[in-house]
Amino acid sequence: MPKVTVDGIEVEVPAGATVMQACEAAGKEIPRFCYHERLSIAGNCRMCLVQVSPGPPKPQASCALPASEGQTILTDSPMVKKAREGVMEFLLINHPLDCPICDQGGECDLQDQAMAYGRGGSRFDENKRAVTEKNMGPLIKTVMTRCIHCTRCVRFTEEVAGTNEIGALYRGENMQITSFLEQAVSSELSGNVIDLCPVGALTSKPTAFHYRPWELKRNDGIDVMDAVGASITVHSRTAEVIRVTPRLNDDVNEEWVADTGRFAVDGLKERRLDRPWVRVNGELKPASWGQAFEAVKKALAGVDAGEVAALAGDLAAVEDLVAAKDLLTGLGVTRLESRTDGAAYEGPAAHWRFNTGIAALETADLILLVGCDPKLDAPLVNSRILKAVRRKGAQVFRIGAGTEPAYPITDLGNDLALLAKLPADLAEKLAKAERPALLIGSRNASAEVLAAAHALAGQFVKDGWNGFNILHTAAARVGALTTGWVGEGLDALAHNPPKLLFLLGVDEVALAPFGGATKIYIGSHGDRGAAVADIILPGAAWAEKPGTWVNMEGRVQRSLRATFPPGEAREDWTIFRALADVLGIKLGYDNLDQLRARMAAEWPELGREGLTPAAWEAAKLKAGKPAGPSKPRATDFYSSNPILRASPTMRACVAEILEGRVPQLEAAE
């Protein structure tokens, strides 16, 4: 624990800390561009120079210098001031003065630090260098003349995304940041380089020239495009969500967010259900809320409660699920189901959660993937696995098919039977492993797979370590399971189809077996579910309602409303509340607070944000042996829910990144 003195303030820092960290511990701000606490240290921007003694009599880059006992550090001396001014002048030599037309303007590190540490003028009167724009795909816009070569983007794609797609070619003044052959950057986390870029070299292509950061209203939200539940900030202007940026949350997403969560917000404006619809003589006709509710009442009048069922979709908030459940329970309906991908998990919470925890996964020493593809199912979990592999030397094994991940993997074969009879090599390593983790893809969590997994659970669940995980893909799933949306299973439901079916934003299920049922669709987008529905009640999308989502770990997280639903669409839980009045049922709550109080009363863990760990219960499930290939993902990464399918940006990603079609260039305005 070295003790150092920073500007006369004595601080003690952990062994191995850098001088920069020591300065921060003393409350001093050190300007920097290349240094980023989640990336490796490059030390190439030289902005963090400080004066250190003992040591050479010249300014030192504090980000790369270890703090050692008895150092005296000056961050405010004339030498430091002069050094910073010099570095800033050099950085600005080749940086264009195009701040007024730069999208980074207003949130630019270079702009801010030039104001704070620059000398206010340049003595450079040569020509500035210019660099051609580089194509990095449909998400990242490049203006490479602005680049200051901090290499944060290069280090991000290597260390966090693991795809090694961006590099720095040539050297010295000719150095250029580019992707190989200017191919589109294909990483699922590529958008994060936009946040990392301290200048305006990498900016968001879909929102280029759309906004200034100070015009935007910021709301805390939760990303529901996958089941990781990344913390995000939703930036909106008037009635429109403009962009999403990640919010710091070390337990879940660190400071990253997947491209689906970041760029799919333009899907909130497309294909929206903005008024109720009722099918009359086989054709959907616009209706008023009153007419739609009457149609629901009429449809319910003719059927027994036992012939009514409800399916929970992938994006529903817990509030919506609880209100719907209360309404349906009031009608005597018990056939509620959320496991729309055919999964069979049920019972205690530990049997269907990601028990290890997303952050703790990076301490695992052996990871067995069963029927899941973390790179696409949950890119942020994949980046934790990458960390486990790179930092802890974890070994990764896979049963089932999947994409090429960013780390070495031992493919055992695409036969789920292997889970019941592990290869000897793996069994031996598993016996030796201290922190082994088993990741079962939700879509492959059939009764047989789960039975085999539970038989192995003794090896994955130890004192202080629970390695039994279900890797969910649906943001609503764990919340739905928590609130009891567990019924007979999708297959059983299809074999004994109900006459009336409530669909809470269900678009990922083959609805053909329910062809005979009257379908009431409550959701936000005109997608597969709405296309076959008989009554459509327009709901709010995730950004348009305050909602609770429970991520795959079981972490309860609240999201705030950023905008309002379009047209006559309403927050989903209020639809059920209004419907309850029409049907003569008393739900017992009239506002969100009362609804949340009712949730907390039955499920205390939903009463506050955070994670309530679930106790492990060993179980012996009765089922046959798993066999056959694993079920692949139903869609590509950019198309797994109605918002993504409606998003023009995500369509561009499919065309350019997945199908390799070159975009049509638009004529200049």
Binding site: E158, N164, E165, I166, G167, A168, L169, Y170, R171, S179, F180, L181
Partner: protein, 197 residues
């Protein structure tokens, strides 16, 4: 072979490549990138007469040692010893750094210009590419040029012209000092320790 997508090591080079990779510890095979690219450039020269590294060749080398393509390209673009564009059969690298400049590298460049060599360009007959480079570490024998693998030192306008004429005529000029020095021994023989020398 025209687009190099089917580039493969020749039999001898395949052995050599394995030997190079074997020099580094397991898991550190990426360290072999520079000698392998160098070897590949020689092989391209042997096969086509032009020493350069087409992109597919860089990809081939990267794949052999499990290195991401972009990392290999970073190395290849960083060092000037790798030619990313085809050069002439003789790559004439004239040192223009201070010691050579003071000793007359301008005359050497003039000799090249008079033979029709232009900086950064391949001559029309495909014979020469002229590059002005920074110090090649033979300052004691300045001015100097490097043509492919050989150094030519202690040059003047006339000796440089003669060297180029030899190359054009298909002869092999004498490498090293053009005034008869051995390596960087003093001009005209030893000046001290004469009895030992």
């Amino acid at each position: 072979m025209s687009d190099f997508t089917d580039f493969k090591w020749s039999d001898a080079n395949a052995v050599e490549a394995e030997r190079i990779i074997g020099r580094y510890p397991k898991g550190r095979e990426n360290s072999a990138i520079m000698p392998l690219l160098w070897l590949a450039q020689y092989q391209v020269a042997a096969q086509t007469g032009v020493a350069w590294l087409p992109l597919p060749v860089i990809e081939f080398v990267a794949a052999q040692i499990g290195m991401p393509k972009i990392r290999a390209l970073e190395v290849a673009t960083f060092y000037t010893m790798y030619n990313l564009k085809p050069v002439g059969r003789f790559h004439v690298q004239v040192c223009g750094t201070t010691p050579c400049m003071l000793r007359g590298s301008d005359d050497v460049l003039r000799a090249c210009a008079d033979k029709g060599l232009k900086k950064g360009e391949v001559t029309n007959d495909g014979l020469f590419t002229l590059t002005e480079v920074e110090c090649l570490g033979a300052c004691a024998n300045a001015p100097m040029v490097q043509v492919n693998d050989d150094n030519y030192e202690d040059l003047t306008y006339e000796t440089m012209t003669a060297i180029l004429d030899d190359l054009i005529a298909g002869r092999t000029p004498k490498a090293g000092s053009q005034i008869g020095r051995t390596a960087s021994c003093p001009e005209g023989g030893p000046t001290s320790l004469k009895e030992i020398a």
